[in-house]
């Protein structure tokens, strides 16, 4: 148990933070605070009014909407999924439904005495609209939004001690048995109601051999990477057990150690945050990998103050508040008793009547990680702050190169990025940019993925669940949506961006170490080629530059002839240029050959003439009927070489090649020159 208090000082290192300002419900005479997870509403009730705030997207300044309801006790309250009705549990035997427009009221009562209502939730399954969980089981009702009637469609009989439900998972778990560790589960998804096999959770026995009893607060339903997990606190064993839900099975998948008897969880960006409340620290787990090791060291949750919009960890030292202090206008006490942790990513402070959204500090996490390969993999899985993750990835890639890490390490890093990109293209998360490219034909630099990400969130969750249900595979059958709203963005780095923001940006600094850079680019190209991706041709131009700089002409030749460097006009010109700079005729010829192969007749002929091969150039022009090259080029070259026979021949060929050439002044000039110098050469 290595949790020390050392890090909870004013040093204020943290990976997870809440951020000022919070959503504040300063409603006088408020009697209760509720959270409606299906609609993501924070609900504050007074004796006769209901105030509700949208929490998604999280905006502290959002005004509440107000509804009036009849006075009376409110045990729980939830808006219907179309938000046209409000359901209120009045007592353990009565649920009242209000239509928000017509103010129509519908009452539902259960048999008093024999059973009592534990709670209720709205459902979007085709079978029913409202589910009421009672000690005797679960009743499923259909009702229309006008609240004309509430019709019982099905009853799931069971002895229920308590239950837990989240709209995100559409999963209801009904606890029964003496220890409350036997569960009946149902998923009420758009595809219908699926019954889970009955299962038991593991509970270690205490020393006194008394059997501990599981409570609803010990159970957390979370969704990570589209998989549904149930986390169960086992206080005796000090373990957090993980159960994963498949279509036909519930499988325990390891356990996490816990360091606090009070525990809560959040999920942010598919990462599991386990709050060790007694120790006042958060531990981050990434359940994507098989390893159950935490992503980073346990650090306290931090409250960040007024420093404005900048949420970067660079501001860590500027933070006016550390986790322990409470001097601000808001009387924040970290992990105080009044806190309720709302899955996925909210904290409701009942005492202060404020709602916090939890944020991850990706920069801090990456700064504290030394294994860059797994860090990059980690960052590539981030979706919430995709752009930041992407920038961090680029920064890490740059740093690994600039620090001259061994090529194998850099290779791994590049492989991670390229594979992730390839995957995201295949998965369609990178699609938008690709389309844009297709229309714009040239890769545009400014094509930021974030511009297009903010789509109306809508009900894509439903579609996804349905899809997952219809695919009969065991894997991921119970699948809530991974892509939650505004999370369409992907941190994937395209090869072009890798070139632009990594290779091109380090080239100048590393020109003396071009061999190292070439080794890395080779690996990059290998990675690209293995994934069958394309890359900006500038990387080829750069490769030539670097190879020529380090005088590795043999390799330059192999790269070119084997088409590792894909032929293009720009590449050919770089070869010509590098050949000229190094006075290496072989490299120049590679460039010429490439121009010819690309059928860039005009450039090929001009370059040939430049190199003094004017006869060959003219022959080529004649063969391919190229007339765009200035005729004076040939004539001047021949005249400069002092070969009158050539000059005469060129005049003759040009007169055949270019119609009307004999009428041009050029013809007269050179014809005159020819006759002046030697009358013996016949034209």
């Amino acid at each position: 148990m290595s949790i020390s208090q050392a890090s909870v000082g004013s040093g204020a290192l943290s990976h997870v933070y809440i951020h000022h300002p919070a959503l504040r419900c300063n409603i006088p005479e408020s009697r209760g605070l509720f959270y409606d997870d299906a609609n993501r509403l924070l609900i504050c009730t007074t004796s006769s009014q209901v105030f509700s705030w949208e929490t998604s997207p999280f905006n502290p300044d959002v005004p509440p909407s107000v509804d009036s309801i009849n006075e009376g006790p409110i045990l729980s309250i939830r808006f219907s999924l179309d938000k046209k009705a409000i359901a209120v549990q009045r007592s353990d035997c009565e649920v009242q439904l209000f239509n928000r427009e017509t103010k129509k009221i519908l009452n539902h009562k259960c048999k008093a005495g024999s059973e009592s209502i534990l709670g209720f939730f709205w459902s979007d399954s085709p079978l029913c609209d409202l589910a009421i969980v009672k000690t005797s089981g679960m009743d499923l009702f259909a009702c229309d939004s006008m609240l004309n009637s509430l019709r019982l469609v099905e009853t799931k009989k069971a002895n229920v001690n308590w239950y837990t439900y989240t709209h995100e998972t559409r999963l209801v778990l009904l606890a029964s048995g003496l220890q409350c560790k036997t569960f009946n589960g149902f998923q009420l998804s758009t595809a219908g109601v699926v019954r889970l096999p009955r299962f038991e959770m593991t509970m270690a026995r205490s020393e006194s051999n008394s059997k501990p009893i599981l409570s609803a607060g010990d159970l957390h339903l979370v969704t990570v990477y589209g998989r549904i997990y149930c986390l169960q606190v086992d206080r005796e064993a000090m373990l957090l057990h993980l159960y994963r839900f498949y279509r036909d099975a519930v499988v325990q998948q390891g356990s996490l150690p816990i360091y606090s008897s009070k525990l809560s969880v959040n999920v942010v960006d598919n990462l599991l945050l386990v709050h060790q409340i007694d120790a006042k620290v958060v531990i981050i787990y990434d359940l994507f990998v098989d390893s159950r090791a935490p992503v980073s060291a346990p650090l306290p949750l931090l409250w960040r103050g007024y420093q404005g919009s900048d949420t970067s960890s660079q501001a860590a030292n500027k933070e006016i508040e550390s986790s322990e202090s409470s001097t601000s206008n808001e009387n924040i006490v970290m992990y105080e008793d009044g806190w309720t942790f709302l899955v996925p990513d909210l904290i409701l402070d009942q005492t202060n009547k404020v709602l916090w959204k939890i944020h991850l500090d990706l920069e801090a996490i990456s700064a504290s990680s030394s294994d860059r390969t797994s860090l990059l993999e980690f960052l590539q899985r981030r979706k919430l702050e995709a752009n930041k993750a992407k920038q961090l990835c680029l920064g890490i890639a740059r740093a690994t190169i600039l620090e001259r890490r061994p090529a194998t390490q850099v290779t791994q890093a590049i492989d991670v990025l390229v594979t992730a990109y390839s995957y995201s293209v295949k998965a369609g998360t990178y699609k938008e940019i690709k389309n844009e490219k297709a229309t714009a034909s040239t890769p545009t630099a400014g094509a930021s993925p974030d511009n297009e990400r903010h789509r109306p969130s809508g009900s894509n969750i439903d579609e996804d669940v349905e899809m997952n249900l219809s695919s009969g595979s065991k894997e991921n059958m119970f699948c809530a949506d991974e892509q939650q709203e505004s999370q369409l963005s992907s941190p994937a780095v395209s090869p072009d961006e890798l070139y632009k923001f990594v290779f091109a940006s380090v080239e100048e600094m590393m020109v003396e170490e071009s061999e190292y850079l070439v080794a890395i680019i080779t690996e990059f190209l290998r990675s690209i080629s293995a994934e069958k991706l394309k890359v900006d041709l500038n990387i080829y131009v750069m490769t030539i530059r670097l190879l020529a700089y380090s005088k590795r002409f043999a390799e330059l030749s192999l790269f070119t002839t084997n088409k590792i460097i894909e032929p293009s006009k720009e590449v050919a010109f770089q070869l010509l240029e590098s050949g000229r700079q190094n006075q290496n005729i072989k490299v120049r010829k590679l460039g010429l050959d490439m121009l010819r192969q690309l059928s860039l007749h005009h450039d090929y002929i001009s370059s040939l003439v430049q190199d003094g091969y004017y006869l060959e150039a003219l022959r080529y022009a004649q063969k391919h009927k190229v007339t765009s090259v200035r005729s004076s080029l040939f004539l001047e070259a021949a005249f400069a070489s002092n070969d009158l026979q050539h000059l005469a021949a060129i005049l003759r060929v040009l007169s055949e090649l270019i119609p009307g050439f004999k009428e041009t002044s050029e013809y007269y000039t050179f014809y005159g020159l020819l006759n002046d110098t030697s009358s013996s050469v016949a034209v």
Binding site: A519, A554, K563
Partner: protein, 515 residues
């Protein structure tokens, strides 16, 4: 087949230094090498004296490039100035009947090749002479080296009764007109698919960094074809030649097979031992003359001396046994022409793939590097990739006749990169003798044109219809050469140039523009 036994006068090969033995009675000092070694000194001196005289005479007119060739009635004298004032002369007997028809430049390339190889292993001859002015060291190195080299031209006569006399059982076969569609001193490359090429280059980067921060050089061969190199074109040619001669999977397997075949016959093992002893004996005679008999002579070209070790690295005892002296002294070393660096040579083989790794010797002497560490590194970092690449290449490899192009018998030479490609020899043999002779003649013409151009790039296009209706074609343009024989009697000149044009566009990326 053009062949000759050493007993007659069909081949003389000598190397001499014009700066030595200029006073009377000291003439023998000039001789650095003479083949056959058992020829009496007066004959040796007469050959060298004639050559020297011709060189001195022709230098009057052309100081830069003296005598290249003398055509006598019965012999051709081929001259090659290997290093300043160090000349190699080859005298070959002309014999139309035995098919001993040569192209002079092809013979000169033999001289050039053996010299380049010698320099690669031992450094320049001039440097050796300067190091040890008696010339004893130089001779003791040259004799076995060139003899070993010439043995690659030996073909074995299988008749039993020839065993009595040294070298009689073997025949030397120099490159004749039948090899006119070959170019000595060039490498043959394997064409790779792009993804394989990327994998190969990635492997090259791994190999290059196998010695930590010290950059190594590497060369990779698949069978007898070059896959990749980081060396300059000249160094590549030399190392490639050596590898094909002694190191590649083919060279290793052909060694064992030919030897085992020979050993079937009685007394043949005696031949091998004798043939190995004979040149050494002649060295001894020279040694005693020069009073230097101490040196352990390394014979890098010695045949049948390389085997594949368990770890995949090729091992040889040519450079000594690893047990004796410092652990790295037994590692082969070579000199690089371009950088004048001495390098350790490590060879690794997996099936048909041979990898040569070169590391600067001084780094190891300084203790920055240990060979065994490098070997370990190669096995750790590269062996998986090597496995994969070998598989990839083997899968895509079209076999012996991969570069056969139907209807064409061709040779393409790129003088810039020193790369050539030609029709497979099995296909070339289907050409009529007349066709080959015509092409040989044409090449000879082109050679002389080229030598007249003195390094200037010539542009030539020659199409000739020979007696047997074959078209022989030479096209030289900007450092690239194409030679071709088309045995389709009915074709017109237009058809022929069209055919060449098609070939050029399809297989040479249009390098040879035909009018």
């Amino acid at each position: 087949m053009a062949s000759m036994s050493s007993g007659d006068e069909s081949l003389r090969l000598c190397m001499f230094d014009l700066r030595r033995g200029q006073t009377e009675g000291q003439e023998l000092e000039k001789i650095l090498f003479f083949y056959p070694a058992d020829l009496d000194f007066s004959t040796q001196l007469s050959v060298i004296g004639l050559s020297e005289g011709l060189i001195t005479f022709t230098r009057l007119f052309s100081p830069e490039a003296a005598c290249e060739v003398i055509e006598a009635e019965r012999h051709s004298h081929v001259f090659y100035e290997a290093e300043p004032d160090i000349w190699m002369v080859m005298v070959v007997e002309k014999n139309k009947e035995t098919g001993a028809i040569w192209r002079i430049d092809a013979l000169r390339r033999v001289l050039k090749e053996v010299h380049s190889l010698f320099v690669m292993f031992h450094g320049s001859i001039r440097a050796l002479i300067e190091k040890e002015p008696t010339g004893g060291l130089t001779r003791s190195l040259l004799y076995p080296f060139i003899t070993d080299y010439l043995s690659t031209f030996q073909i074995w006569s299988l008749s039993e009764d020839c065993c009595c006399e040294f070298f009689v059982g073997k025949k030397l076969q120099l490159p004749t007109f039948r090899e006119t569609l070959r170019e000595r001193g060039t490498v043959q490359m394997l064409t790779l698919a792009r993804d394989t090429a990327v994998e190969v280059q990635s492997l090259v980067q791994v190999l290059d960094s196998c010695a930590g921060s010290l950059r190594c050089h590497s060369m990779i061969l698949f069978q007898d074809l070059l896959v990749s190199t980081t060396l300059s074109a000249d160094d590549t040619v030399d190392l490639f030649t050596f590898a094909v001669m002694r190191l590649t999977s083919k060279a290793l397997s052909s060694d064992t097979s030919s030897w085992s075949y020979l050993r079937k016959g009685p007394g043949s093992s005696e031949i091998s031992s004798r043939s190995n002893l004979a040149p050494v004996g002649s060295i001894d005679s020279l040694h005693s003359r020069n009073g230097n008999n101490m040196h352990h002579v390394i014979r890098p070209l010695q045949n049948d001396k390389w085997t594949k070790g368990k770890d995949g690295f090729l091992i040889t005892d040519i450079w000594g046994l690893e047990t004796g002296g410092s652990p790295d002294s037994a590692i082969p070393t070579i000199w690089l022409q371009q950088t004048q660096e001495r390098m350790y040579l490590l060879a690794y083989q997996h099936k048909s793939l041979t990898l040569l790794l070169l590391m600067p010797t001084n780094a190891i002497v300084n203790g920055d590097l240990s060979i065994s560490a490098v070997k370990q590194q190669v096995i750790e970092d590269a062996s998986l990739r090597i496995l994969k690449i070998e598989e990839n290449i083997s899968r895509g490899w079209g076999g012996e006749n991969a570069y056969h192009i139907k209807g064409y018998r061709y040779l393409v030479v790129d003088n810039d990169t020193k790369v050539s490609r030609s029709s497979p020899s099995g296909k070339v043999t289907t050409l009529a003798k007349e066709s080959l002779l015509a092409l040989n003649k044409l090449r000879e013409e082109v050679d002389s044109e080229k030598s007249r151009a003195k390094g200037q790039e010539k542009d030539m296009e020659i199409c000739i219809r020979a007696k047997n209706n074959v078209w022989v074609i030479a096209r030289v343009t900007r450092g690239k050469e194409l030679y071709m024989a088309l045995e389709k009697g009915s074709d017109t000149l237009l058809d022929t140039t069209d055919a060449v044009g098609r070939f050029s566009n399809r297989y040479c990326s249009g390098a040879f523009l035909m009018d």
